[in-house]
């Protein structure tokens, strides 16, 4: 890929930057007639996850996105796009609904991860993420996930058990933040750039590892161009899976993850 002189930490900064659209922003750019659906039907409605139904191209879809928010007040309210258990449970509720009505699911990922809070733990953050991984694996409808910003650990994966995962060039997807990694390894968070290199979390690396299926170039392109390519790609991926049997669809998803780190 071009721009070999861009460091991994530059990518991390770009992925987090407020200069680029949020995951929710991309979702709204791609989705026509978007109708937002709220709430997990159990406890609350998490504004860090924006979800609903609409059309991507000619396809009726269920869309689920992390939303970091706009103004400072909005960002506080949305916890900078870090979901609580209610967010993951809302996402799963909508995925199950999509399965019922045979709508493909498209997830947009972009936040530092699941929210680390007292209430989030009290209401089962770990259980909520686990349940999503478990249920998404056998969801009987195509699932496409897009990493547009920072894909932060288990909180990102909870929207990422898909048939096909696509990443923007400057997005990152990592088991741990470079700052936390540097703190644990070298007791020095200022060594985050070194940790960023070591973690190999860029889209280019993930493509090489077979963790994602597609990288969409961003350099010297407008947001509109990127969104247009992403839209074509998603529609095409949905069409490929409409031709599959249910068994083929589920085997494809299972085997995608099954082969990662297999011996």
């Amino acid at each position: 890929m071009e721009n070999a002189n861009i460091t991994a930490y530059d990518r991390a900064r770009a992925a987090r930057g407020s200069g680029r659209p949020s995951a929710g922003g991309y979702m709204k750019m791609l989705t026509e007639n978007f109708l937002e659906l709220h709430g997990d039907r159990r406890f609350g409605d998490d504004p860090a996850i924006v979800s609903g139904i609409g059309y991507i191209g000619s396809k009726a879809v269920t869309v689920i996105a992390m939303e970091r928010g706009d103004t400072i007040e909005d960002r506080m309210r949305r916890k900078f796009g870090c979901p609580t258990p209610e967010g993951y449970r809302k996402a799963l509720r909508l995925m199950k609904e999509a399965e019922k009505f045979k709508r493909p699911v498209v997830c947009f990922i972009g936040s530092s991860g699941a929210y680390p809070g007292i209430e989030a733990e009290e209401r089962g953050q770990g259980e909520a993420i686990a349940e999503n991984l478990y249920e998404m694996m056998t969801l009987k409808t195509p699932v496409i996930s897009v990493v547009v910003g920072e894909g932060g650990s288990g909180g990102a994966l909870a929207l990422g058990v898909a048939n096909n995962v696509v990443m923007l060039e400057n997005a990152i997807y990592s088991v741990i933040s470079p700052e936390a990694c540097a703190t644990i390894l070298w007791k020095d968070s200022s060594k985050a750039p070194d940790a960023a290199e070591a973690l190999k979390f860029t889209a280019e690396n993930l493509y090489k590892f077979g963790v994602i299926e597609k990288v969409i170039a961003e350099t010297e392109r407008t947001t509109e161009d990127i969104a247009a390519e992403l839209k074509d790609y998603i529609v095409n991926q949905i069409e490929l899976r409409e031709k599959m049997t249910e068994e083929e669809l589920l085997d494809e998803r299972y085997n995608k993850f099954r082969k990662i780190g297999s011996k």
Partner: protein
């Protein structure tokens, strides 16, 4: 290796002394092992290694290990990973952070995985994920219940994204095992956190925890720093998880085998 006699391996007559970190009591290993690795003077649960656990939970001579030869490689070329792996092997006496196999518990056959915190804090890399996935796939085919003892700091950062993906891989194998109508019991032990809590630890049909085990997703310090709030007493302990509805029961270490056996017997099906 198929170690038929774990007691031999653990040297039951071991005179080596251990110190209880809580009360400072010095205890002979053989006495401590006899007492389920619980301090006889202050009742503190010391962390158990995988082999000690297998010796306590399974019927003598019934454990047969699977995939014990699998070892981790430095797949993303992470700094100092090889050295850490070597140290972990010495500290734990194991090839990796989980031991898998089949065994009998009071005569009931089951598949078993036991994580070991002496191996890089029980962190989950690709070999841990692969071994547990293979165990679930075998158990699905053989229609065996799975018993899993968890202890882990979470996904292993030295394998980057490959570690993270093990959460999805194992959870998928657990789902297929469950869809086959098979039983999965998890036993949470101190500490079970991060990516292991957020995947197969929380997916048991029945979730048991040892008393006072730390069980949670996010690290306590991260939560304090993010929220600026003091954490409530007993936060993320087994009793807290029970109170909030996320585990079925807390069981004392000495009663675990009997309790697991009862659950296994209750779920026995006629094999046609």
């Amino acid at each position: 290796m198929n170690f038929k006699n774990i007691f031999g391996f653990l040297k039951k007559d071991n005179e080596e002394e251990r110190i209880c970190k809580k009360c400072g009591q010095v205890i002979k290993y053989s006495l401590l092992f006899e007492n389920d690795m619980i301090c006889p003077s202050c009742n503190t649960y010391m962390r158990m290694g995988a082999l000690e656990r297998i010796a306590k939970i399974t019927d003598d001579g019934t454990f047969s290990e699977s995939d014990g030869e699998l070892v981790s490689e430095n797949i993303i070329d992470f700094p100092e990973y090889e050295e850490k792996l070597e140290k972990a092997k010495k500290a734990s006496g194991l090839n990796e952070g989980v031991v898998c196999g089949t065994a009998e518990i009071h005569g009931s056959k089951c598949a078993l995985f036991v994580m070991d915190s002496n191996f890089m804090m029980g962190s989950m890399g690709s070999v841990v994920g692969e071994k547990i996935t293979r165990l679930f796939e075998m158990a699905t085919k053989e229609k065996l219940p799975v018993i899993g003892f968890t202890t882990s700091g979470g996904a292993r950062m030295q394998e980057g994204i490959i570690s993270l993906m093990q959460m999805a891989k194992v959870s998928g194998a657990v789902k297929r095992h469950s869809d086959g109508g098979n039983l999965y019991i998890t036993v949470l032990t101190d500490p079970t956190t991060g990516g292991v809590t957020a995947s197969f630890a929380m997916l048991g049909d029945i979730i048991i925890s040892e008393p006072n085990a730390l069980v949670g997703f996010a690290g306590a310090r991260v939560i304090e720093q993010t929220t600026g709030k003091a954490l409530p007493k007993g936060f993320q302990r087994a009793e807290f998880m029970l109170e909030h509805g996320f585990i079925d029961m807390i069981e004392e270490r000495g009663k675990l085998k009997d309790t697991i056996s009862e659950i296994l017997v209750l779920h026995k099906r006629e094999v046609s």
